[in-house]
């Protein structure tokens, strides 16, 4: 039953984007470009919610800085996309426009890999992964827990945001990267590319889901849950909680980076606002609304909250933040296990 549901869900996500290509515009089965883009975005958000749930729902570690890993992945991909513009920019030079604007004559050293998709993808995973490993190691070794951990992760992403806002940092300042033209020589706005990116996001979500399921059902996952419930006991059983928390945190950061890598070519822009505290807090809301400590919950939560957001931004744009706040309060008060918990309760 569960397996059948999973296969059906995966099939829908994988096949839906093809409706854009298979049917001509105007046909009732045609999925417009707008909805392909929206689906792609939601799939990336769902990966983030799943990643956050892995450490929050199962490990009891609430990170309010996961937007940073998402943005670093996105910037990594963005660097490659900027180089792919080639001489088609405003200034028609080899350097990206913002560098010309700053009067730079050559690429900074950290752009060295940006001409190669493979090398740049490696960087887009390695930088957030390493940052999570170093930051997490210090935080977990010092036994920073609970709200203190949430606060310092929040501070970390704000610090990074301020750094990326500076023009001299070399990532386009507050405008970030935009105006992308192609990926691997192929035009980025073609219908085929849009569908390909959307399908890639669906594959990424399915793979992340399966990895998360395998991890949480392994002994590693049970120890992670044990750390959440009684860390002292785990230590006195001879396990070192640091290793488990750190591996969970790094895996989670890598999933977020993957989401960022897929997100940027689909929305066509990355700027420091992705590192704002609100962006990271929203991820926590997706996971909470869907249901912490379940794997399906965060995915549903990301779709539900962002779907509602899309409706409200058309209907009543000023009202969205109030609705989001009310939703979060309602879930915290009445649905501690989120939508999935509600469904379970209704079935009984």
């Amino acid at each position: 039953m569960k397996k059948a549901l999973f296969i059906a869900g995966a099939a829908v996500l994988l096949l839906a984007p093809f409706l854009h290509l298979a049917f001509p515009p105007g046909h009732p089965m045609h999925l417009s470009e707008f909805y392909v883009g929206l689906l792609g975005k939601f799939l990336c958000f769902a990966i983030c919610a799943l990643a956050l749930d892995l450490i929050w729902g199962f490990g009891g570690i609430l990170s309010l800085g996961h937007g940073l890993f998402f943005a670093l992945g996105g910037y990594g991909m963005g660097m490659y996309l900027m180089r792919q513009i080639g001489r088609d920019g405003q200034y028609q030079t080899d350097l990206p426009d913002f560098m010309v604007f700053l009067n730079w004559k050559a690429l900074p050293w950290y752009w060295a890999l940006s001409d190669s998709l493979v090398a740049q993808l490696f960087l887009a995973f390695a930088v957030p992964g390493l940052l999570a490993a170093v930051f997490g190691w210090f935080a977990f070794r010092s036994r920073i827990q609970g709200v203190y951990f949430s606060i310092i992760t929040q501070a970390l992403t704000v610090a990074a945001m301020l750094l990326f806002f500076r023009n001299e940092t070399g990532f386009g300042g507050n405008n970030g990267f935009t105006d992308f033209k192609r990926i691997a020589g192929l035009p980025i706005t073609s219908p085929g590319m849009k569908v390909a990116l959307c399908v890639a996001s669906a594959v990424a979500l399915i793979v992340c889901y399966l990895v998360a399921r395998w991890l949480t059902q392994s002994r590693w996952g049970r120890i992670l849950q044990a750390i959440r419930d009684a860390e002292g006991r785990v230590r006195f059983l001879g396990y070192d909680p640091v290793a488990f928390k750190l591996s969970a945190y790094v895996i989670s950061a890598l999933m977020c980076a993957l989401a960022g890598i897929l997100y940027v070519p689909q929305v066509g822009i990355i700027n420091p606002s992705e590192m704002s505290p609100a962006a990271s807090i929203e991820m926590a809301i997706w996971a909470a609304v869907g249901g912490r400590g379940t794997l399906l919950g965060p995915v549903l939560g990301a779709f539900f909250v962002n779907g509602t957001k899309s409706v409200f931004t058309v209907w009543w744009p000023e009202g969205w933040l109030y609705v989001l706040g009310a939703l979060f309060i309602a879930v915290t008060l009445f649905l501690p296990t989120g939508l999935v918990g509600l469904a379970r309760r209704l079935r009984k």
Binding site: R219, R222, I223, F236
Partner: protein, 277 residues
């Protein structure tokens, strides 16, 4: 080879065995499992332990009693690495210096602890709780691919029977009764197969029947494991100590008296501070 050389070799080997190590297996070549020597701990000026010393022999069952605030739990905290004493020495076997080891290293060296408040993993089932405690590789990498071997399955079944939780094996631990949680925690302790068991008020909240069974269980462990039982319940201590086992009485962070239950009960200082005048 000359007898002199042989002797020198044997001595060097003995020295190597008892060299103070900071990790690994304890060596019990002196017949002593745990040395506690002149431990002092102060919390914000309150002297919780004021030069506490005692030793526990290999395979011994030792009862520790004392009024509230005598330092019983603090002693356990020091031995397991949760609290670092201000001064003193703590050795496990003749070679391990517990003061330089982390909680996890101490646990891996073979010291298991039962908390005063039963601490089990409430979201996991009874079997899963025991499985995590089973002796084995403790690294995160290993845990991702770990599978139970047939031998471990048998051991789990045996443990479930020992702690009378076989009918509850698939139940979530959070749903167990207080006494059952105590049993589960004892089961987890046994699953670790520790050389030294520290039991902090193991029968608190148990029914009389459960208490009796617990006493039987501990007595059956004597000899294979060293046990330190900290308890308030005098009847329980009486059952455990019997006529000839040693009881240590703590008071204000020091050893007040040590001896058989009868000796301790007739000690005037003990009567004054603990057993009531």
């Amino acid at each position: 080879m000359t007898p002199g050389l042989l002797e020198a070799g044997a001595e060097a080997h003995a020295r190597a065995l008892t060299r103070i190590a900071t990790a690994g297996e304890p060596v019990f070549n002196q017949g002593v499992a745990l040395y506690v020597e002149d431990i002092k701990v102060a919390f914000d000026g309150f002297q919780a332990l004021a030069g506490l010393s005692f030793t526990v022999g290999v395979g011994e069952l030792r009862c520790v009693i004392g009024p509230n605030g005598a330092g019983k739990t603090t002693t356990m905290d020091c031995i397991t690495g949760k609290t670092r004493p201000d001064s003193g020495r703590l050795h496990f076997g003749s070679n391990l210096d517990l003061l330089t080891m982390t909680e996890a290293e101490i646990a891996r060296a073979g010291i298991g602890r039962k908390f005063q408040k039963p601490t089990v993993f409430e979201a996991l089932t009874v079997t899963e709780n025991l499985e995590l405690a089973l002796a084995g590789d403790r690294r995160a990498r290993f845990a991702m691919r770990a599978r139970l071997s047939g031998e471990q399955r048998d051991r789990l079944d045996e443990l479930l029977k020992t702690v009378h939780l076989a009918p509850e094996r698939e139940r979530v631990a959070g749903l167990l009764s207080h006494g059952q949680k105590q049993w589960l925690e004892i089961g987890m302790l046994l699953a670790q197969d520790p050389k030294l068991l520290l039991l902090d008020e193991p029968v608190a909240g148990m029914t009389d029947e459960e208490t009796e069974r617990t006493a039987e269980l501990f007595l059956s462990l004597e000899g294979q494991h060293s046990l330190v039982v900290v308890e308030h319940d005098m009847a329980f201590v009486g059952t455990l100590a019997g006529a000839d086992r040693t009881v240590t009485v703590l008071h204000e962070g020091q050893t007040l008296a040590e001896g058989t239950m009868a000796t301790v009960q007739s000690d005037e200082k003990v009567i004054e501070v603990y057993l009531g005048r």
